[in-house]
Symmetry: C2
Subunit: 91 residues, 2 copies
């Protein structure tokens, strides 16, 4: 599991299409599709239902999405905290 895969998952979950999510991430469809497949493989369960009109979250995917968002926002907070500790008090 990687942060890239998690970002990919969130983008696909929000856009509902691999293609649109890929464009948003400045990526092409194949690598993005592989991220999702690898994630599902590692988790041992599918997260999306594939339809000819896009991807729709399954219950397992909705459960994962909540954690995924918290992981990404925690990463963001970690970065800002360090910059705050370093840049803030010393000014």
């Amino acid at each position: 599991m990687s942060l890239t895969q998690i970002q990919s998952f969130v983008a696909v979950a929000e856009e509902g299409h691999v293609g649109r999510a890929a464009h948003r991430l400045h990526l092409t469809q194949p690598p993005l599709s592989r991220h999702i497949l690898a994630l599902e493989d590692e988790l041992g369960a599918p997260l999306f239902e594939r339809t000819p009109r896009g991807m729709r979250l399954l219950p397992a995917g909705e459960a994962f999405l909540q954690h995924a968002r918290r992981i990404l926002s925690e990463v963001d907070a970690a970065v800002h905290t360090v910059r705050g500790v370093v840049g803030g008090p010393s000014k």
Copy 2:
């Protein structure tokens, strides 16, 4: 930033030595040292004080450590939640 780097950081913070942390992660020292350096480079600030007896956390490192632990435990929770959603109700 990658989960591998975050795991490396936590291991070094807890062990206080790159060598011991590397052994714990089934890795050698050079890649582990590179993970820390890359992380510090990305954050724009050193996280450890290098001494001839090992590595000691700086204030910025202590701040990052709290977030790092939460990120890793959130990842763990995400995995278990998905497995719970998939395996639990269907039994």
